[in-house]
Amino acid sequence: MDTSFLIQSLASVVAFSSPVVLASIGETISEKSGVINLSLDGSIALSAMTGFAVAYISGSVTLGMLAAMAVGTVVALVIAFASITLRQQQVAVGFVMTMLCTEMADFLGRPFVRQAGPSVPHAPIPYLANIPFLGPVLFNQNVVVYLSLASIIAAWWYIYKTQPGLKLQGVGERPESAFARGVNVNRMRYVYCVVGGALVGLAGAAYSLSVRLGWSNHHTFGIGWIALAIVIFGGWNPWRVAAGVYLFGLLKTLGSMMQRNPAFQSVPAQIFSTAPFALMIFTLLLISSEGVDRLLELLPPRLARTIDRTIRGRPPGGLGRPFVS
C-alpha cells in the first residue's frame, strides 16, 4: 500500500466521521452533566433536514448550519425542560423526541428529497495543510471537519482543565455535593444539555451539507444510536470518545473497501450494512461483560488495572437521575 493511498483513506475517515464526532462530543457534554439526550437519532435527522432546507432556500451554508444548531438546541431544551423541571423519565422523553423528530424530518423534508443543493466548500488551512502526512489528513478539509476536531479539544480542555468544567463534572458525578458547594445544579444541567444539543444539531448539518449531501428519507440511518453507543464505549471522555468514532469510521471504510473487492463478491451486501450494529453490540459486550473481568484476573494486577482503565470508563454518578434540592 503506498502512502498517498493511505493518506487519502485516512483523510476520508476523518471527513466522514465528522458528524459522529460532533454528535458524540455533544452527547458527552450533556451526559457529563447528568442528562441523557436519547433523542440523538431523531435530532440529527431533523437538523440535517433543516440545515439542508435552509441552505437550499437561502443559498447560504452558514445559515443552514446555524438553523441546524437551533433545531438541536430546541430539541435539547424540550428534553431538559421535561426531565429537569417536570421530572419525567429522561429515557422516555428522549425516545419520544426521537420518534417525533424523525417523523417531522420526513414530513417537512418532502420538498427537498433528492434535490441538489449547496455544500460546505473545501478549505485547506494554509501552511498547516503542507505538514507532511498530518497536513493532508487533518487540515486539507472543510470547516465542518475543523469544527469537529476543535470540538474534541475544546470539550476535553473545558471539562478537565477549567474551573467551570470541574463544576460540570461535579454536577454530573455528585449533584448533592455540588449543590452543597453552592452550584445551581439544575441550571447547569440545562446549560450543558443545550450546548450538547447545539453540537448535535451541527452534526446534522455536517451530515447533509458535507458528508452525504442533500436529504432523503432515512438519510441519517441509525447514526445517532451509534453515536450514543460510542459515548459509552469512550467512557465519557472526549479523547476516547473521538478515538472510538475514528476507529468505527476506519472499520467502516475497511468494510466498504472489502465490499468493492472482487475477492469478497460472494459475501452478501446485508452483512456489510448490518455489521456496524453488530459491532456496536459486540464492543459494548466487550467493555462491560463480566467475562472480561475474569480474563483480567489472569493478568498481573498492575497490567490488569491499566487495561481496565484504558478500555472502560465509569458513567457519571448522577447520570439519568433527577436532582431534587
Binding site: 424540550v78 421535561a82 444510536w225 450494529f277 459486550l285
Partner: protein, 349 residues
C-alpha cells in the same frame, strides 16, 4: 374531591390532544397546506367505508399484540426497544413453517403461530441475555438486534427465499393457501388475528394483575434493589419478561404475513415496534388501555396515507400526530404533578 374538580381533572387529562393538534396545525401551516383539509383527509381515509374500518382494525392488531407485550417488559422496568426485531424473527420462523410444512390449514396455522412465538421469544431473550450476562443496556442490545434481524430478513428474501422469477423488494412468493389466515367475507380482516390480539390483552392483564410472576415484575420495576433483597429472582424474571414480550411480538409478525400479506415482505415490521412502544407508554403499561390507543394510532396511520394521494403531503404526519400526543401527555402530566406538589408545599410549609 368536589364534583366540579373531578370534571376539571377529566378535562385536563384531555388537554394533551388539543395541544398536539395545535402543534401539527402549525407544521401544516409551515408547509402551506390547509390543516382542515389534512385532518378531514385523515379521518375520511380511516373511517369513510367499512373497508377502511377493516383496514384500521387490521393495522391495529399487531400494534395491540406488541404493546401488550411491552406492558410486561415496562412493568418490569425494562426498555424492550428490540420489538421491531422480534416481529421480524417471528415472521421469519413462521415463513419457514409456511414454506416447508405443507399441511392442512388448522395444523399449519397453529404451527406458524407457535413458531412465530418461538422466534420472537428467542430474539427477545437474546436481548435479555445481553443485558443480564453482558451488561449491555437493553436499549442498545435491542436496537442492534433490530438492525441485525432486518439484515437477515433482507438476505433471506434476496437469496434462499427469492421469488421464482427473481428477487425483488416485493418479498417472497405467496404462501400456499392453507398458510393464509381466513378473512371475514371480502373484508381484509382475519378473525383469527382479532382473537389473538384480544387474547393477548386478556392474558397480559391477568398475568400482571393476578399472578406472583406479575407481582414480582412489578416489584422489580418499582424498586429493583428492594425486590432483589426481598428475594425476587431477578435474572429469570427479566429473561421471561423479555421472552414473553418477544413471543407476542412474534405473533404480531405472523399476523402481518399470514393475515394481511400472505408472504414475507422486507418491511414486515415497518416501525410498528417503535409505535407500540409509544402506545405502551401512553397506556402507562395498563394492557386494557392498549386497545383504544392502538385503534387511534392505527387510524392515524391508515388515514394519513390519504395525504400522499390527495394533498402531496408526506404520510409521516400521522407519526407526528402520534408522537406529539405522547409528548404532550408527558408534559401536561409532569406539569400537573409539579403544580400539585407546589400546592402541597404551600399547605404545609
Amino acid at each position: 374531591m368536589k364534583p366540579d374538580s373531578r370534571l376539571a381533572n377529566f378535562l385536563l387529562s384531555l388537554a394533551p390532544i388539543p395541544l398536539a393538534l395545535l402543534f401539527t396545525t402549525l407544521l401544516l401551516l409551515i408547509v402551506g397546506a390547509s390543516p382542515l383539509d389534512a385532518y378531514r383527509n385523515i379521518l375520511q381515509g380511516a373511517f369513510e367505508s367499512p373497508a377502511k374500518w377493516a383496514d384500521v382494525i387490521t393495522a391495529c392488531l399487531p400494534l395491540i399484540l406488541c404493546a401488550a407485550g411491552m406492558c410486561i417488559t415496562f412493568t418490569a422496568g425494562l426498555w424492550n426497544v428490540g420489538v421491531e426485531g422480534q416481529i421480524i424473527m417471528g415472521a421469519i420462523f413462521a415463513t419457514w413453517v409456511a414454506r416447508n410444512l405443507l399441511w392442512p390449514q388448522v395444523p399449519v396455522l397453529t404451527t406458524m403461530i407457535l413458531a412465530g412465538m418461538l422466534g420472537g421469544a428467542l430474539w427477545g431473550a437474546l436481548a435479555g441475555l445481553l443485558k443480564v450476562y453482558g451488561k449491555v443496556h437493553e436499549i442498545f442490545g435491542g436496537l442492534g438486534l433490530n438492525y441485525v434481524a432486518q439484515g437477515l430478513l433482507i438476505w433471506l428474501i434476496f437469496n434462499p427465499w427469492k421469488r421464482a422469477e427473481g428477487a425483488t423488494m416485493q418479498g417472497t412468493d405467496p404462501f400456499p393457501a392453507p398458510a393464509w389466515m381466513p378473512h371475514l367475507g371480502n373484508l381484509r380482516v382475519a378473525p383469527l388475528a382479532v382473537f389473538l390480539a384480544l387474547a393477548a390483552v386478556v392474558v397480559v392483564f391477568f398475568l400482571l394483575r393476578g399472578t406472583r410472576w406479575g407481582l414480582e415484575l412489578k416489584g422489580m420495576g418499582k424498586n429493583f434493589r428492594s425486590a432483589f433483597v426481598l428475594g425476587v429472582p431477578s435474572t429469570p424474571r427479566m429473561l421471561t419478561a423479555f421472552a414473553a414480550c418477544g413471543a407476542l411480538a412474534g405473533v404480531a409478525g405472523v399476523v402481518v404475513i399470514s393475515g394481511v400479506r400472505g408472504r414475507l415482505i422486507p418491511e414486515v415490521s415497518g416501525g410498528m415496534g417503535y409505535l407500540s412502544l409509544l402506545i405502551a407508554l401512553l397506556a402507562a403499561y395498563r394492557p386494557q388501555w392498549v386497545i383504544p390507543i392502538a385503534i387511534f394510532f392505527a387510524a392515524m396511520g391508515v388515514g394519513s396515507t390519504r395525504l400522499e394521494l390527495n394533498m402531496q403531503l408526506d404520510s409521516a404526519l400521522g407519526g407526528v400526530i402520534e408522537a406529539s400526543v405522547v409528548l404532550a401527555v408527558m408534559l401536561v402530566g409532569g406539569w400537573r404533578a409539579l403544580l400539585a406538589q407546589r400546592r402541597r408545599q404551600e399547605v404545609q410549609p
